[in-house]
Symmetry: C3
Subunit: 267 residues, 3 copies
């Protein structure tokens, strides 16, 4: 099945099922994540108490783990929720925000990756290189990496981990270790708004919860954000851009994705 | 005094007093809650450290407890703040978000209800049925319940607990155990935006802090949200709807409520 | 060098360097703080885990500590981050939100001030008077103080602490213990939106991270917020005002500041 047909399928699945998406995520962008999950047609639950996350994830269709403002307590919650999700066959997305910035983040992500099988890991180039064990140049939570090696890095890491790797940047790369795609949509304004990466991960989780198709969900989630970024009003400033971005996400559908998507099959 | 006169009174009270409303609430929708409290003319304080909540609630006019992202630490803070509020005669609102979803939530709400006398409890049908000890169908934090039995459930629970019960949904039911009202305002777009329930509870807290009239405050808070939802622009998408909703709340007054409210006295 | 030239310099510095600004801040307004830091041209990092804040601040150009929803855990993180910043010569901003409201806040701020040298402390009159050891009238996190003594209080406290003191209100006062300025921009709508104080502190941190010029950064940060408040659309309600305020901040530059600023040199 070609990628267009698969994208149609995940949008169809989302349309037919209001999937509950459990998040253990950061407090900076959590409200935007909840609103984009609703805007695309799924339903968010945010809960991080250790004594409830196993039951909470059990009633959900997907789990999104985002370490943006993680602490010792919430990393334990993520481990519990992720293991419970794996045991029940519920797909898990990892957003390793700023993983290279501190030993705490590197060690926490190492623990998560050892304990949990992820369906999709989405990060910028510096984050994914850090996970791949490569030297990475970053500035805090932003990547300073060249993107030219992205396809090889994504493909190799996807093969090694047995999950979909999504590297977002000027060109987005998505690989399941077999097929690798480059996506050339988006707008530079998306880098001037907090949480567009987090929101992309939540959108991936939304498609994944409805379809359990990891590769197409990663591509659909990223394209939803980047094409919404193209459509959104950039003429007034960043407040209007944000409002207009959520407007565009709430009106996104397979048809709009198909007519705007610039997808290259790399290998 | 008829309900219209009571609504006029709570709006008048709010106008005359910039009531401080202490919240211990979730980090998903906390910013929206703060902004609607300001928009309606009260003043929000969010604070959850155990060693300060008793003093903090002591300088406030009402307390709103919302368990959306509660954890073991913040439940203790809620217990302390709620007891201190009761001791000083400061009214307390409970928003039992997703109470049926996990044992942790059920037990936490049971503890809160045992230790604290609430003035108003606002939830969706599944949450209120869970509190009433009835079987409830929910999907995460959303209710899947029929609303036909709402009036009886609200009335009986209000009598039993001696507080106002507000069940929000397509039709909203509010009862103080004596009088029961059905409110038929709102818009389906409100279900596609995160935090409209939380914001309603914060609006109830705002009116309650100014007036200490539980029944009219519950009705005024719910009508403010649902009529703002009717007035808000739904033509552009969910980003614009959210902005326009806050616009409408900040321009709400007794006159606009009276001219739009669909209130049925049930019993 | 006159203040206009200094303001030009800090805008120029911000333009030339995308400064990383580490925040340990409250969960009510954190998203707005992140977005204004991006809007003005710097880059935000929010992280509060005790075991990573020392490394995190080490890769940043400035640190903003905001006690709005601080708890025992995050106060320890603030102490660690602040000391690490001092050791590396990274400037630190303190926003003592509601410091007078509870003993926990007063004691926490006392600990922070004993352990950390701040470059700028920004608060309302009640907060600054509390820090100065004077009697202060406040309502929760809002000041009820007269502003007439502001210049003397700011000057004396700045001298005593060896840092810039910024008192924001109808008239804003900024002093470095040598020069004292009164700023007469702004709009009353800014008091009806949550987080405009927090955002001002984050803007100050952004200029400070780029320039390390405390006095001019404090003035530039405050003027950015207050002039944006003047420019923003107030005709539709508080939702539109918020959107429009972020628009105006993202379009702010030295020229717009210079043409609108009402700066009085007091002494």
């Amino acid at each position: 099945m070609d990628i267009q047909a698969q994208l149609n399928e995940v949008f169809e699945a989302l349309h037919n099922k209001c999937a509950l998406i459990h998040h253990i995520t950061n407090y900076v962008t959590v409200n935007d994540c909840a609103n984009v999950v609703l805007a695309i047609g799924a339903s968010p639950i945010m809960a991080d108490e250790q004594s409830e996350v196993e039951e909470m994830v059990g009633i959900c269709a997907a789990l999104v783990l985002n370490i943006g403002t993680a602490n010792e307590r919430t990393i334990v919650s993520m481990l519990k929720a992720g293991k419970a999700a794996n045991a029940k066959g519920i797909p898990v997305v990892l957003d390793p925000v700023g993983v290279g910035a501190t030993p705490f983040r590197r060690q926490s992500v190492a623990k998560l990756m050892e304990a949990i099988s992820f369906s999709v890991i989405r990060g910028n180039m510096a984050e994914i290189k850090t996970i791949a064990g490569l030297e990475a140049k970053s500035a805090g939570v932003d990547s300073l990496e060249e993107e030219s090696d992205g396809a090889k890095i994504a493909l190799n890491l996807a093969k090694k981990l047995g999950c979909v790797i999504a590297i977002t940047g000027k060109i987005d790369i998505v690989s399941d270790g077999d097929s690798t795609y480059a996506l050339d949509n988006g707008d530079v304004a998306l880098t001037k708004l907090t949480g567009t990466g987090c929101m992309s991960s939540s959108l991936i989780g939304s498609f994944l919860g409805a379809s359990n198709h990891a590769l197409a969900s990663a591509i659909a989630g990223i394209l939803t954000m980047s094409i919404a970024g193209e459509l959104a009003d950039k003429s007034q400033g960043m407040g209007t851009f944000r409002t207009s971005l959520i407007d565009a996400i709430s009106q996104m559908d397979a048809k709009r994705i198909m007519s705007s998507a610039k997808i290259d099959f790399i290998k």
